[in-house]
Symmetry: C2
Subunit: 312 residues, 2 copies
């Protein structure tokens, strides 16, 4: 009986995995190191061996799995093809086909990790019960994920939902990692918030608790903003202005029921939600029916949950 | 045998209609006046009477129709509900249900007119053969239409593809019709191009052929730009900058195979295509696989074609 499935979240440092039953109960979760040496040739064999070992430990065989879903940190095309996974060093591959071959033909599906996380939040997290969901993951970078009619949406060239690279400020002078100037990621990621706060500290001669902190983090900026620090609040408002603006563009394109904000930065909570929602609603005049904005609830488990949902 | 269908394009001045066979051949097209008097109560009865009369003229009955598709100048929700059709003066209705009741129960489907036009271009026009299409209609306003997997896409609140109201310039001081400031429509519509050209004329003391024209039109601006007029070219470039930017946001969200530019302004042709494509590609750094940009080919027939396709 195929009553189980595995969700895999492939990251640059670790691969997270979860064993689920088909009702969505997480029976076990674990992680392994992403071995990038030898041209990253061990990554998929390691995952396969780990799945075999763990299913065995639960008294199951591969024949008990409906399939394995996998989130990949790169654009995944409709047929599963991936041109590059930059932060692992893998190029020109079909991860789903590779893993399936290593698992005696168990069906494997792959999707972009940010899209997969959105599917996880739609299934078991902050967007539970919604069919049309857009998620912004504010981490080291900014990822985007789109779920339409309950299904993962990846677009014609695997570029659907690459929301972190929307140009929100054409006047920006510093370059984004992608080479463009003024991407959302430069303001709304953990590194982006810190960058903007540092810039505010240079332009602003007023006092700020941030001046006494050596290695500034996004958490420092939000904590200071919550305690009324004007410089920190200016950085938070800049994040809110650009993320709210980008959300309004997405709403006028795919018109989701709900936006979910996840990733490390989302731990800032209500202050983030408030500033983003205000700026989002300010830019949607043509309709009174606006999408909700909510925080993600699954944390690091969003990836394995969404990956599992892909094969159910 | 249900081998025929009717496409209806409801406008503020006229209702355009087309009788198609199910292979997509347009057998007949005609239009009637949109009677807005008496609370616009005649609009749907007039359409129904016209369809009955025209099918009869072709030796057909309502029983020969697979259905009637209808483009509506307003947001249409998933169940067909329409809150308002501002430029006709109709509120709180389900146009598809109303027309079906007037046609002895023939199946009727309704969609937003800009979305329906995109479906028409995907079926028989500039996007023929593509499954994922986004269309910008540059007319009096700016409409947007999205076709995904060959199907019309309208979003959760009928607001999907309302691309004309994306905020492209938060610094704009003049208000858009919608009440917001800096919408794409304020730069890329026929009235928008003229508005920007007038502003350029005021800010720019140099000579321009546009200064000698009394009632400036979008065509005047493009014609002058083509003949090398610097002021006119500045207005065209402003259109290109903002439309290209908006396209990049849409590409990073739904990632279509092709963008189609239609509406009266698109008659400017190659000069428009060039300036838009340059600005679009400039804002997509993260992938080499960029959507094509092409001109619409169906002109005023896009609406009736797309409407017909809805019921095939």
């Amino acid at each position: 009986m195929k009553n189980y499935c595995v969700g895999v979240d492939v990251g640059g440092t670790t691969v997270k995995m979860g064993l689920f039953d088909i009702t969505g109960s997480l029976m076990d979760k674990w992680e392994i190191v992403t071995r990038k040496e030898d041209g990253a040739s061990h990554v998929f064999p390691d995952i396969a061996a780990s799945i075999r070992e763990r299913t065995d430990r639960h008294g199951l065989t591969l024949a008990d799995l409906t399939g394995v879903g996998m989130g990949i940190p790169g654009p995944v095309e409709e047929d599963g093809y991936v041109g590059k996974i930059v932060n692992i060093g893998l190029y020109d591959l079909n991860p789903a086909k590779e893993l399936s071959a290593l698992l005696d033909g168990v069906p494997v599906k792959a999707g972009n990790d940010a899209n997969v996380a959105a599917l996880g939040e739609a299934w078991l997290g902050g967007a539970q019960g919604y069919q049309n969901v857009v998620m912004f993951t504010l981490g080291t970078g900014v990822g985007g994920g789109i779920v339409m009619s309950g299904q993962l949406f990846s677009g014609s060239h695997g570029m659907g939902g690459e929301l972190g690279h929307m140009t929100v400020n054409p006047a920006e002078t510093e370059a984004c990692n992608c080479g463009n100037h003024g991407c959302l990621e430069q303001y709304a990621s953990a590194t982006g918030v810190v960058r903007v706060a540092r810039r505010q500290l240079m332009q602003n001669t007023g006092g700020s608790v941030l001046r006494d902190i050596g290695e500034l983090t996004a958490k420092d900026v939000f904590d200071a903003a919550k305690s009324g620090d004007a410089v920190a609040m200016a950085a938070v408002e800049e994040l809110g202005r650009y993320l709210g603006l980008a959300m309004s563009w997405v709403a006028l394109t795919v018109d989701p029921e709900v936006f979910i904000i996840g990733g490390g930065v989302s731990r800032a909570g209500q202050i983030l939600l408030d500033v983003v929602r205000t700026n989002f609603e300010k830019n949607i005049f043509i309709s009174d029916k606006k999408a909700d904005v909510a925080l993600a609830t699954l944390g690091n488990d969003a990836g394995i949950c969404g990956a599992a949902k892909m094969v159910l």
